[in-house]
């Protein structure tokens, strides 16, 4: 090999020795450039993704910290307005309370399970008869829109005789399954929009059902002989 190089003409040898470093540099530029630039682009994209996630999480954390009081008070009320189980019992209870307040005689309260809408809303059909004066019955029906669970008047039939009005009212109440998933930790969440805040205001204004909790008897123990003397 050395002899082969020595046997070459001097001009050719000098050309090779002058061009070799330049050629090597060009090859190294290509190799290091390809590897290095690829790595730099890769790490830049990771940094951009990490910075985006940090920005999203910071915004999410700030929102969760600032909104927590609104949400903590609003969520139970919203869940009461649209419960996760059939609200017929609560609606009947509310109806009886309203009837007592408005001085209306409510009878024949019936409740049946209705259909399921596309948006996952289950319907409960509630019907009843209301007897009273015109003002009393009208007030009762109007008050139905102010109770939780949310109740919508579907149809009303009325007849009046000697100042006594009887109304046959058909209403719908709703329930829906609870959300089954929450977003991923690094997924963004948004604050309540103006429309959502208005709806939350309406929900907050709804009259909540009052249930009395039956507590267990204080006297502990069981009767050892319930059929005995």
């Amino acid at each position: 090999m050395r002899n082969l190089f020595k046997d070459m003409p001097e001009s050719f040898r000098q050309t090779i020795s002058a061009c070799a470093p330049l050629l090597v540099v060009i090859i190294l530029f290509a190799l290091v450039g390809k590897f290095g630039v690829t790595k730099v682009i890769e790490i830049r994209s990771k940094i951009v993704a990490a910075e985006n996630s940090v920005a999203t999480l910071t915004q999410k954390l700030n929102l969760l910290q600032t909104i927590s009081s609104t949400v903590a008070s609003g969520a139970p009320l919203a869940n009461s307005a649209l419960p996760s189980q059939n609200p017929s019992l609560a609606v009947s209870s509310q109806l009886k309370t309203l009837a007592g307040q408005d001085g209306v005689l409510v009878s024949s309260v019936k409740s049946t399970t209705g259909g399921v809408s596309v948006s996952g809303l289950h319907e409960a059909d509630v019907s009843f008869l209301a007897d009273g004066t015109r003002q009393q019955v009208f007030k009762l029906i109007e008050d139905m829109a102010t109770i939780a669970p949310v109740t919508v008047i579907n149809e009303i039939r009325m007849s009046e005789n000697a100042g006594a009005l009887r109304a046959e009212v058909s209403a719908k109440s709703y329930w829906a399954d609870l959300p089954k998933t929450i977003p991923a930790v690094d997924a963004a969440i948004t604050d309540l929009t103006q429309d959502e805040k208005e709806t939350l205001g309406k929900i907050n204004a709804l009259v909540q059902p009052q249930f009395t909790e039956v507590t267990a008897s204080q006297s502990a123990g069981t009767n050892s002989s319930p059929f005995g003397e």
Binding site: C19, P21, L22, G36, S53, D186
Partner: protein, 177 residues
């Protein structure tokens, strides 16, 4: 005076033009090596700096994830709240019978105690109302109240009877806007 002597054997000499060209190529080679070193050092420095920055971001991210996870109850509540609000909005959006009842109420409030509702059927789109009215003033007020109301888009007087015993029987079908 300086004398230029070429002591190289003639077979080792190269032409002057080739010699100049090779000199330029050698200079370019040196510049290339210097540029390559600067480039390599730059890339390595940038890579180290970026790795350091990425590690910092990742540490910050882990810390934030922990803080967000600690707020999971609030997140669950906001998801529940938004879900409920969306669904309740969908329930309250369509027209219902109550708006028709509130629309027809002012027309009934003008009647005296002698007038009574025979039949009234209200749904989300229309009101069918049959009223017995005994006095002319009640009849006039009743019809004027309907006329002045802008709650209904159509009003059809479907029946109008006068009985000496019970008075006027007026049946109206009103359709909401």
């Amino acid at each position: 005076m300086a004398v230029k002597l070429n002591l190289l054997p003639p077979e080792l000499s190269v032409s002057k033009s080739l010699g100049n060209l090779l000199k330029t190529v050698r200079v370019l080679g040196v510049i290339g090596i210097a540029a390559f070193l600067v480039f390599t050092i730059g890339i390595v420095a940038y890579f180290i700096f970026s790795t350091y920055s990425l590690n910092g971001d990742n540490a910050n991210l882990t810390k934030l994830k922990g803080q967000v996870t600690a707020q999971q109850q609030s997140e669950q509540q906001i998801v529940l709240l938004k879900d409920r609000i969306d669904k309740i909005s969908a329930i309250l959006k369509p027209a219902n019978s109550l708006s028709n009842l509130t629309a027809v109420e002012p027309t009934l409030s003008v009647l005296s105690d002698t007038a009574s509702i025979n039949q009234m059927a209200i749904n989300s789109t229309s009101v069918d109302l049959s009223v017995t009215i005994q006095t002319n003033s009640d009849l006039s007020s009743y019809l004027k109240a309907f006329e002045s109301s802008d709650a209904f888009v159509t009003l059809n007087l479907t029946s109008f009877n006068l009985s000496p015993k019970t008075g006027y029987s007026v049946e109206i079908t009103a359709t909401k806007k």
